[in-house]
């Protein structure tokens, strides 16, 4: 790479680090750890009964009653093609705010356990590595190395936008 190209790359990289830095809510899915921008998180609730709705993709578990509002719940394990697991005592639903074409929507995300809110500084952020054509990484904002662990920073809108995750049944 030429000198200017290398400089551009470093500039882009540090711009990315600056823009991604901030507070993230971290949670666990199987052995993987993820982070969600904390400003998108509305609330965290314990696992509750989910009313199943027909004709939806397998990762849409159904709907729940959140103080009078009916919101959809998505099982992130299933969405990421991980093995389904029965709910444990740390299973939680993170209620997030999405900016969808239909407008601002609240969606519940089912995760194995909620960890903590971390303030991630630019130095800890790495751009998403390329794993080759096999792995779709559009939903990853980047990767953070914190306290020796790696957290995958999620772009929620992408998780739900890609292949119309919120179902459009014909």
């Amino acid at each position: 790479m030429s000198k200017t190209a290398v400089k551009d790359e470093t500039q882009r990289s540090s711009d990315l680090q600056q823009s991604l830095a901030g507070k993230y809510l971290t949670f666990a899915l199987a052995s993987e750890e993820y982070g969600l921008p904390v400003l998108r998180v509305r609330e965290i609730i314990k696992m509750m009964d989910i009313t199943a709705v027909p004709q939806v993709p397998h990762y849409v578990r159904g709907v729940i009653n959140l103080r009078g509002k009916v919101i959809a719940v998505v099982d992130l394990r299933l969405k990421f093609n991980l093995e389904a697991m029965p709910a444990g005592d740390r299973t939680a639903i993170i209620v997030v705010e999405l900016d969808l074409p239909a407008g601002r929507t609240l969606v519940g995300v089912l995760v194995d356990a909620v960890s903590e809110v971390l303030n991630i500084v630019p130095d800890e952020i790495e751009p998403t590595p390329t794993f080759g054509a096999q792995v779709d990484t559009t939903f990853m904002l980047g990767v953070a190395k914190v306290k020796g662990t790696v957290k995958i920073l999620l772009d929620l809108n992408q998780v739900f936008e890609a292949e119309g995750a919120l179902p459009r049944v014909a």
Binding site: T51, V56, N65, V70, P167, V169
Partner: protein, 214 residues
């Protein structure tokens, strides 16, 4: 309020809704700032309602909140299938019955048709449509609800008719806009959600199901 102003009883009562108005000596964590009643009134007015106060010293106070029925409300029959409950709008229901064994006709071992008087109606098992496992399979031990949409009559197999109820229709959100057979959700008395069925959609689901089976 100028001194000596002449106020009617109800004007005086309405004073408590003024922001900042408080009769508390001390301000605590949750009261005393003159905010609460103002919030109450604003919220009621946002719903185009009214709040009235009737009070008598030493006797007690009645707050009357009047709200218009602008929310979408549907009257339906509550149906139980296994552990789940559904709401079928009353206007789609024609009758309900428990068929005698000689009125149930099977195709390849599965009950598929119910004879009601002179008509032979296709039987749709809600348990099968919604993937509910612990439902009653034998129509003669369950309940059959005949629904109609646009001239088409269909028999629905459910466990039990629980009762009639008026429910507030809650939209399921953009995620479920195109789910056929379900018009929305209702929050039932115990806080659980009962899916509100749409007769036309349920009937067309049967058509799709048979197409897949074929």
């Amino acid at each position: 309020m100028p001194e000596g102003a002449n106020l009617s009883q109800s004007d005086i009562h309405q004073l408590i809704f003024k922001p900042g108005f408080s009769t508390a000596d001390k301000v605590t964590e949750i009261s005393g700032r003159g905010v609460g009643m103002d919030v109450v009134r604003r919220n009621i007015e946002a719903l185009r309602g009214r709040i009235e106060i009737q009070t008598e010293v030493g006797q007690g106070t009645t707050f009357s909140i009047k709200l218009p029925l602008t929310l979408a409300i549907v009257e339906g029959l509550l149906l139980r299938v296994g552990e789940q409950r559904f709401v079928m709008p009353t206007f789609s229901i024609r009758e309900s019955l428990r068929p005698a064994p000689d009125r149930v006709h099977s195709v390849q071992g599965v009950p598929r048709m119910i004879q009601v008087r002179d008509s032979l109606l296709p039987l749709i098992s809600l348990a099968q449509v919604f993937g509910i496992r612990d439902a009653i399979a034998n129509p003669c031990e369950a309940t059959v609800v005949v629904i109609e949409d646009d001239g088409r009559f269909v028999a629905l197999l459910v466990d039990q008719l629980i009762g009639k109820q008026e429910v507030v229709v809650k939209s399921l959100g953009p995620a479920f806009q195109n789910v056929r057979g379900v018009a929305g959700g209702a929050i039932l008395g115990d806080g659980k959600i009962g899916l509100i069925l749409d007769a036309g959609g349920v009937i067309s689901l049967r058509d799709r199901a048979t197409a897949h089976a074929a």
